[in-house]
């Protein structure tokens, strides 16, 4: 039995289709990432799973419990961290934690082993009001509160958004450790670079799942050679590459340009020659392994 089983979920808000037939199956103990930009449907899907929103059609089950008929059971076995900070700002760190432990009929002591790693970081500030914590610390406290009743499934909606790079990295280290506890973690993020930290991911855009697999497998499926080009002036290089061959994909990546040719007879030398002939200054042309963001862009191209 899958820990999370999602079948053909559709959700509309007026005219807008937020989820357009989403199906996913997540195994027990998996660290599963839902990767997509703002407005892709991530929050709607998560709210349906935690029984806070009803789907128009389709079914979903958490540990075998239906999200509509067994909602009470689900609320007891799920830890949920919404995208917006939702703890009590006027309660202290410790009061928040005690509050959540109490409403789930447990104590901080009972499940201390699960939250110890985070709690030692929070402890020096246990008398500080939650509203006065930094972004990274707020997220850690929210995670603590979502874990305090030792849930079977953890649903985390963009836990690292707005958090700086150092705190983000620490947060992911924590998530990885829950696998050993048998907890299933379903986490969403708009950061493509966090995809690699998950065991499996789903790429979501406009309410559609574009692809699902392990990050390595999704990268392996990239169908054509991908080149990175560093040349200047940037704007002219972009225009030049767009008219090189049949319907190429040309994506700006920082100071470099990623180029996917639809023909197989293109080579590093041919690209270099083509740009040099146009009087552009070429610093680098290299074939590279795609990243998740390249895969996301490739999938978006089709829609």
């Amino acid at each position: 039995m899958a820990a999370i089983d999602i079948q053909n979920i559709v959700k509309t808000y007026g005219e807008k289709k937020a989820l357009n037939g989403v199906s996913l199956s997540i195994e027990k103990g998996e660290l599963f990432g839902l990767i997509g930009p703002d407005g892709a449907g991530k929050t709607s899907l998560m709210r349906i799973l935690v029984t806070l929103l009803l789907a128009d059609s389709g079914t979903a089950a958490m540990s075998g419990h239906d999200v509509v008929t067994d909602y009470k059971t689900i609320r007891n076995i799920t830890g949920y961290m919404p995208g917006r900070f939702s703890l009590y700002q006027d309660l202290t760190v410790e009061e928040n934690l005690n509050f959540f432990a109490t409403i789930f009929g447990t104590t901080i002591k009972e499940n201390y082993s699960l939250i110890r790693d985070i709690y030692v970081q929070l402890e020096p500030f246990k008398d500080r009001r939650a509203g006065k914590l930094s972004g990274g610390m707020k997220q850690k406290l929210a995670l603590c509160c979502a874990l305090i009743h030792r849930p079977e499934i953890l649903i985390l909606d963009e836990p690292t958004t707005g958090v700086d790079a150092v705190s983000r990295r620490e947060f992911w280290e924590l998530l990885k450790s829950y696998k050993n506890e048998g907890i299933t973690t379903f986490v969403s993020t708009p950061y493509m670079d966090e995809a690699g930290l998950c065991e499996r991911i789903a790429l979501i855009q406009d309410g559609h799942i574009m692809d699902t697999d392990s990050p390595d497998e999704i990268i392996r499926r990239f169908p054509l050679p991908l080149y990175t080009v560093k040349a200047s002036p940037m704007t002219e290089v972009l225009h030049a590459l767009r008219s090189f061959g049949q319907a190429p994909q040309v994506w700006i990546f920082g100071q470099e340009i990623h180029f996917v040719a639809s023909e197989h007879d293109i080579s590093e030398d041919k690209i270099r020659q083509y740009l040099t002939d146009k009087n552009l200054k070429v610093d680098k042309v290299e074939i590279i392994t795609p990243g998740i963001e390249d895969c996301f862009l490739w999938n978006m191209r089709k829609s």
């Binding site: 930009p37 500080r128 150092v166 940037m234 704007t235």
Partner: protein, 253 residues
Amino acid sequence: MEHEKVINSAPVIQVKNMYKRFGSFIANNDLTFDVYKGEIFGFLGANGAGKTTAMRILCGLSSPSSGEIQVAGFDIYKQVGQIKKNIGYMSQKFSLYEDLTVYENMRLFGGIYGLTNKEIKERSANLLQMLGFENARNTLIKDIPLGWRQKLAFSVALIHKPKIVFLDEPTGGVDPMTRRQFWEMIHETAAGGTTIFVTTHYMDEAEYCDRVSIMVDGEIRVMGPPAELIQRFGVENMNEVFIKLARAKSTEL
């Protein structure tokens, strides 16, 4: 624009020994840097490092405690009005008025910047054409897809042809395709001679900049082109550079 070209052009932002104190707290501690014409400059730092304070000063919204600062050729103490007329601003959090149409937003911002009706008409027709949005002229902003709004907001920030545009985390959370279209617009704008000043804590946005500075605890710790910093720190990307610099701060509040 590459580094060589950057340092050959004239500075449009000159900051010398800038301090900003709030009581005993030093939010900006002796900042000195120049930003050049047509440059894409990334102003980076963790939350609370002092970058918003500095940006507010450069936009003429707050005064420094001390220091010599010129923006777009105007003095920060005596010519704030001139500075405001010569800069544009856009953020991901607030961009356009949702209950106004595309054109009404352009008219509003054009009017605020003192453009004549004729200028507003010409300029907005021009911007809409560049975006390929002519058909959306009379559409309410709230009916326009999120990705488009960003591009539109950037165009509106350019309506008065400012010398410098300040962008505050412009593409956080935006889909990868729109994000790229957006950065292409920024590159084109910079190639036309407008300076782009980006504040962000998204390190992947930093990689699009010609040069970046990274603030820690109110000070600029490092400055240079991203590729150079990545090499100097012996790491893979700007995220790693940032983590190395900010590591000591990680467990504090």
